[in-house]
């Protein structure tokens, strides 16, 4: 057990120290919440507190204990590039809660936004509340449910969201039913007219062409922000394309407004419109080798 933990900590340090500007070195497992899916581990070190799922899994969410407003993981900053394409969202849906860092950051930046988060694992929601200051409220709700079930229910209720953030993937595993043409079509039904989907995913030479192609089978515009950490932020919508000057202006003002979180302009620079992908296949509910493609990395 001890050996396993040492290996885990080594893995954690490795994966997080590989991020150039961050120096998180986790030394201690603070808490393990039993889960019917994957045990949720809270680990601390060097002033940081992070979540990992089980032993061999990379870090999911991190906060700086002394300053919880700081965004630690790069991808959580990258997500905010989505606001360049939908600058005044009133309703946001977040799929995959993690530590609840993203809803908290949005709420303190724009307190009037109504945020609904959906998370499949009750253990994750407990950890977010007890270790990451996430407090559900009328303005920021949490539902424990599979995203496909939640989305279907919201479509039936004729609800609409201006932004849907998909943060349900990790480097080792993709819930395949959340990466299909049918699912994206449901998201499109749930979006308001100016709505955008913002997704956190990963750079992978085998999966990326199919992933892009699947988005492009449903949405006319697909933008990408590649991050040094290997994350890839995708922004999909049916809006007319943004011109470069407007995009740059908006990204600049977002990074300024979120300066307190440690956001720099460089974190959001590099958003580009993707050309139509002709490689790979459109992933569907009937045929979806996403996890196999990831293995072939």
């Amino acid at each position: 057990m001890k050996a396993a933990m040492t290996v885990l900590l080594a893995l954690m340090s490795l994966s997080i120290e590989s991020r150039a500007q961050e120096h998180v070195s986790l030394k201690e497992i603070t808490y393990v919440e039993r889960s019917m899916y994957r045990d949720v581990m809270v680990a601390e070190g060097g002033g940081y507190r992070c979540i990992a799922f089980g032993m061999a899994s990379p870090i999911q969410s991190c906060m700086l204990i002394a300053n919880p407003k700081k965004l630690v993981l790069d991808y959580t900053k990258g997500i905010f590039a989505g606001f360049a394409f939908q600058s005044k969202p009133q309703h946001i849906l977040i799929i995959g809660l993690g530590g609840g860092i993203i809803p908290q950051t949005i709420s303190s930046w724009k307190p009037d936004i109504q945020i609904d988060s959906v998370e499949i694992d009750p253990a994750v929601a407990n950890v977010a509340q007890h270790y990451f200051n996430y407090q559900p409220s009328n303005r920021s709700t949490i539902t424990i449910e599979d995203a496909r079930v939640f989305v279907r229910e919201k479509i039936r209720q004729k609800n609409h969201y201006d932004m849907i953030i998909v943060d349900a993937f990790d480097r080792n595993y993709i819930p395949e039913h959340l990466l299909t043409k049918e699912f994206f079509s449901q998201l499109k039904n749930l979006l308001s007219k100016q709505g955008v989907v913002v997704a956190n995913t990963f750079q992978n030479p085998k999966l990326t062409p199919s992933e892009d192609r699947t988005y492009q089978a449903v949405f006319s515009q697909l933008y990408e922000l590649r991050m040094q950490t290997g994350n890839r932020i995708l922004i999909a919508s049916d809006q007319p394309p943004l011109n470069d000057v407007t995009l740059q202006d908006r990204i600049q003002s977002i990074s300024q407004e979120l300066h307190d979180t440690g956001m720099l302009l460089s974190d959001l620079n590099g958003v580009r419109k993707l050309p139509m992908s002709n490689d790979g296949v459109v992933l569907t509910d009937r045929f979806n080798p996403a996890n196999l493609l990831m293995l072939k990395d």
Partner: protein, 209 residues
């Protein structure tokens, strides 16, 4: 007669193996067929597995009962064919699951009802195969334990093969409908082969012994 005596049991064991393969392959596809509608939470897997276990157990009873009435290889082949036909609704799942998912917002009940409709009958028939095959194979009490042992061996090994092939390879290489179609074809082909090799009259293995 000596020729048939050794050949026919092999075909019966083979058919039990194919049925075991088919059943676990369908069970694994079950989770994947339901997840777009009811999610991939632990409840959905719970619903799929409990439906399979329930209908399999009922199938054992039914198969045992059927074996007391003029058992023949032709009837055995027919059971396999019916097992395959009952999987045909799996080729039109969205038309069945879409209204169900809207009727049952709670994914637990939705998945339970959907599993029953989609997998209940075919699993029931899968359950009839082993007891019926036993009746065809057993010629005397002293050898019955051995025949039962081989029967459980081949059908469970078939199930293991169906599980690993489907989860490791098939779902990643083929469309779900193509896999279901392939599995139904496999059952029907096995049924046809059994019919072809079955003794012309109603004689059984035991009659030949």
């Amino acid at each position: 007669m000596t020729h048939k005596k050794t050949i026919t049991p092999i075909f019966i064991f083979g058919a039990a193996c194919v049925s075991g393969f088919y059943m676990m392959s369908i069970e694994l596809l079950g989770g994947r067929i339901l997840s777009p509608f009811f999610g991939s939470s632990i409840f959905v897997w719970g619903a799929v597995i409990s439906v399979f276990m329930t209908f399999l157990s009922l199938g054992y009873l039914l198969g045992g009962r059927l074996s007391t009435r003029k058992p023949s290889i032709k009837t055995f082949a027919l059971l396999l064919a019916i097992e395959g036909f009952f999987a045909l609704p799996l080729l039109v799942t969205p038309h069945i699951l879409d209204p169900l998912a809207n009727t049952f917002p709670d994914p637990r009940w939705g998945a339970l009802v959907a599993s029953t409709i989609l997998f209940g009958l075919t699993t029931l028939m899968a359950g009839t195969i082993s007891p019926y095959a036993m009746r065809l194979l057993v010629s005397d009490v002293e050898r019955s334990g051995n025949a039962a042992g081989i029967m459980f061996f081949v059908s469970t090994l078939g199930s293991a093969a169906g599980t690993i092939l489907t989860s490791f390879y098939l779902v990643l290489m083929f469309d779900i409908y193509d896999i279901v179609f392939g599995l139904i074809s496999l059952l029907l082909a096995t049924s046809a082969i059994l019919t072809a090799v079955s003794p012309s009259s109603s004689e059984l293995c035991e009659d030949e012994a």
